[in-house]
Symmetry: C3
Subunit: 393 residues, 3 copies
């Protein structure tokens, strides 16, 4: 099982090797606009072994209240094989593993679309991430373009656990040196995206666990139009620098102040909180009121970070019910499907944000110009999400 | 074991659902004074699965030096079934799980009493928390009242691992909307508090582990009256915001600056450090000198947070020996019981606090008025605790 | 397996025990110069059980990119028994466990020498640490002296996993009270240091894992003289206070602002980042470019922290190739040995530091005086390290 090797003793060498400034290289990562080729597939490095303590730790950092992610016994009693990784963690890891290829040169993350969670992730699952370039839109010389990508998270059994699409804004290469090239590879890797994908859920037990979730977040509690103002906010500290690579994200904008303060424009200054973390906090803040009785996060779409956040900002959340439907087939006996609009604000309580901005909070920021409305500086995020939620029964 | 389901594709909905500001709700948690009914039992949500890495992580965050909580081999050699969750973690989790019902509306935590640790908590144990309302004292219109509660931590085998009592100051409802009601439930849950409870300890081995604990913290090292000044302090950073929900505590005072800065009075401004964390740090700072050779934390009483702490404060600790007795029966061959008064100070070293305040440090702050003495602003905590400590042999 | 004991109820005692200021003691730790006796061996307290989540957590906190430390599947496919603890974590823990005896009174860590990693550390291994005093150099009355120590990290099977030497600067006792004495012990503990030690490596499989590491960090990518400028930096936050005892380090300089701000000279002010953490961040920042395809960290020498770092500082790294050799015997078919000089800078990007300081960055700071050169304030660290790196094949 092991071999014993005796190596030569290490001797000091630096003085003996002349410094040759001609032999300098500057490896850097991400892709410039021209480097994205539609059809190209990136197999992202490293992968990520999910461990129970990190799954629980993630859930607690982001204020999750659904015991599926906090209580192993409860998760088993609900039919799962053990503690479940929170969908937010799965999303954050799958996206972050791809940053080195997809977006380490990105200027902005423009939106998330068509995210679908297809299978639970459990402790000791190892997830890797793949991206396919779908489209590259150039917008003229000197202007950044828009790249559309699809990303898959795949487990050690080659099963897709998550798929989603996102758009990113990327600048051109200009006269800058090329990024680190992909390994030459004869075969284009498979990219098993399925538009109409099946979701693999546990066979839920006849009798679901009780007593550990709130009384006011069952399927029957949600009607179309309901607006739920989540009471607590969360002040983000500079913990976010460390949390960024905790999920595998390598973009220096989020943890390197020399880099972030050297930028010009809106992103200049303190490191910007990686958006996936903001989404996770907002979802956690909403969880007591809307997802404590959820058994599956089906997915999300039309997700936009409308303002950046930095350390010191306090975020708060509101949810609005967009649909409440029966779950298909047998599943409908125990569960319904609820679609929510989740809105994030900063440095104002959710209640005060609603009092101040009213219905404008729920209008997509990008639609406002055409409607002759002003954007809301205090609004930081908007998305639509769909959950499978237990009936009170 | 699992079922494959095809859900309808998610379509964008927000634009199609009119925003109706009549359908807003503001769920909020905790209880106002009038909502506490003596005799009522709360089964707190979520529960908490203890994981080895989080147990070790907690012990390290709070500077624990007893290897029972850090070294699995040592814990087994001492007769335990594996790494032991530190009593501080158990206490923090059991209390925090109850915050949503007990104290998310509390204005102050007035004191901890009669805490007894009854069984070890090991990795993969899942702990849930129950509270019974013992007493509600009203102090006149417009004044906050005092609620006395008892809380139990119970493991997955329905065994009580910790019980304690606390008093909290709570304001009345006034014209504010009611908090989120408890689930209606036909049966009043059992509440297995036992005044004269048995403690379940391992059968300690004939030969205890050696070489991994300090030489100066055996039972024989403690005599009544000894004052031990712990050398190091710990500066609390804004890590405390995240650490609050890491133990399950949902009170926004500790992590929501919009909330905390909107308060009036002493608690206004930066988020206040949740008191249980302050206690944990103080206990950790004391651990090298008093509890490195402890095998059981019997419990504590008369615990008071006499001043709040915020990020940036540096805390330090002193211990005073109040009693040193033989352990009962056979246990007395190897162990003795030591009672300590643990005192916490802030922004001054423990040595300087003693030089400056002398014996006044050890007088309960609440007794000072009657004694014609001033309270000590630099003093933040006082408690009496009792440990089962190994004899040098 | 367990015994049920009924203890007497805890009663309040503090009021009844008179405060006696004659009975004060001030236990403190570390050793003054005179207390170090060449030949003496310290068996350090506590030990440290490595847990998978903490190993992965460490690797992520310090930006490691080698999947050996992040991906259990990859580690197994490379022939290891499971997820491998990063060498940086092993080093930090072994050193930190020794601080209580070795350096809690140290004024400076002067250098690391001859570090050799001899065996992998896996999850559930429990490591303890021993130190032997090698030399004590006094430099005249009132001046701090220099102590040379050797430290071993030993696993639960009594196998050495790491050995290294370091020099520390320590002040004399003067008229201060003695530190806490070692336990009297009849036997001098064994100290199994071996100069020419064997390294125990797994039997690497015929076919190594692929697809999860970068394309530009194979053995063939490194030639003597290459300078590699690592693109990203990392801003250190006050997370470092907590991270210090996360690896077991008890020196208050790193987490007690009352202590650190009470010092005089260069170390006065905010808590100084424990140097081992700085080394870990720099190594992590370099890992994408130089060690992602490494299978073993052989060791390091001539390591110097040339400037302190505090919270808020941003660190960045450069590597220079000092040697690139065949690995011995059969190992040479798959691996080569690369020696790197690793340089750390602060509050400037690595590229700008190179542009500004050129070859002077790579000259040992201690040699500069004799060369008539100025020291570089922005340079914080220098070391030589040796890796076993996979061939592209």
């Amino acid at each position: 099982m092991s071999q014993a090797i005796r190596f030569q003793a290490q001797a000091e060498l630096a003085e003996k090797v002349t410094v040759d400034l001609e032999k300098v290289r500057y490896p850097h990562y991400g892709r410039y606009l021209e480097e994205f080729v539609p059809g190209q597939v990136f197999v992202h490095p490293r992968g990520f072994t999910f461990l129970a303590a990190q799954m629980e730790g993630f859930a607690r950092t982001y204020l999750q209240c659904n015991p599926l992610y906090l209580n192993e016994q409860y998760a088993r009693a609900m039919g799962f094989l053990g503690l479940v990784a929170s969908p937010q963690m799965v999303f954050n890891v799958v996206l972050s593993l791809g940053v080195q290829n997809d977006s380490e040169k990105a200027m902005a993350n423009l939106g998330y679309y068509d995210a679908q969670y297809l299978r639970p992730v459990y402790a000791l699952d190892t997830i890797r991430s793949l991206t396919k370039v779908i489209d590259r839109k150039e917008r003229g010389a000197g202007k950044p373009g828009i790249v559309t990508i699809r990303t898959l998270g795949i487990n050690q059994n080659d099963e897709v656990v998550l798929q989603y699409q996102r758009k990113i804004m990327v600048g051109g290469q200009g006269d800058r040196p090329s990024t680190t090239p992909l390994p030459p590879s004869a075969l284009m890797p498979a990219f098993p995206w399925v538009d109409d994908a099946e979701v693999f859920l546990p066979d839920f037990p006849a009798q679901l666990a009780s007593g550990l979730t709130g009384p006011n977040s069952y399927f029957e509690d949600f009607s179309v139009g309901d607006i739920i103002v989540h009471s607590n906010g969360r002040t983000i500290t500079d913990e976010h620098l460390s949390l960024t690579y905790a999920v595998g994200n390598t973009h220096p904008l989020h943890f390197d102040r020399v880099f972030s303060s050297g930028l010009s424009g809106k992103m200049s200054g303190d490191p910007i909180v990686y958006g996936g973390l903001v989404f996770a906090w907002l979802e956690g803040l909403a969880s007591r009121d809307v997802s404590e009785n959820s058994v599956w996060e089906l997915g999300f779409t039309e997700g936009y970070h409308t303002q950046p956040a930095i350390a010191g900002d306090t975020v708060a959340a509101l949810s609005r019910v967009l649909a409440a439907e029966e779950a298909p087939g047998e599943l409908g006996k125990k569960f319904g499907i609820v679609s929510f609009q989740l809105i994030g604000v900063k440095n104002i309580s959710a209640a005060n944000a609603l009092a101040k901005h009213g219905e404008d909070l729920f209008i997509k920021e990008n639609d406002k110009k055409d409607m002759g409305k002003e954007k809301i500086d205090e609004k930081i995020f908007e998305i639509e999400r769909r959950l499978l939620i237990r009936k009170r029964g």
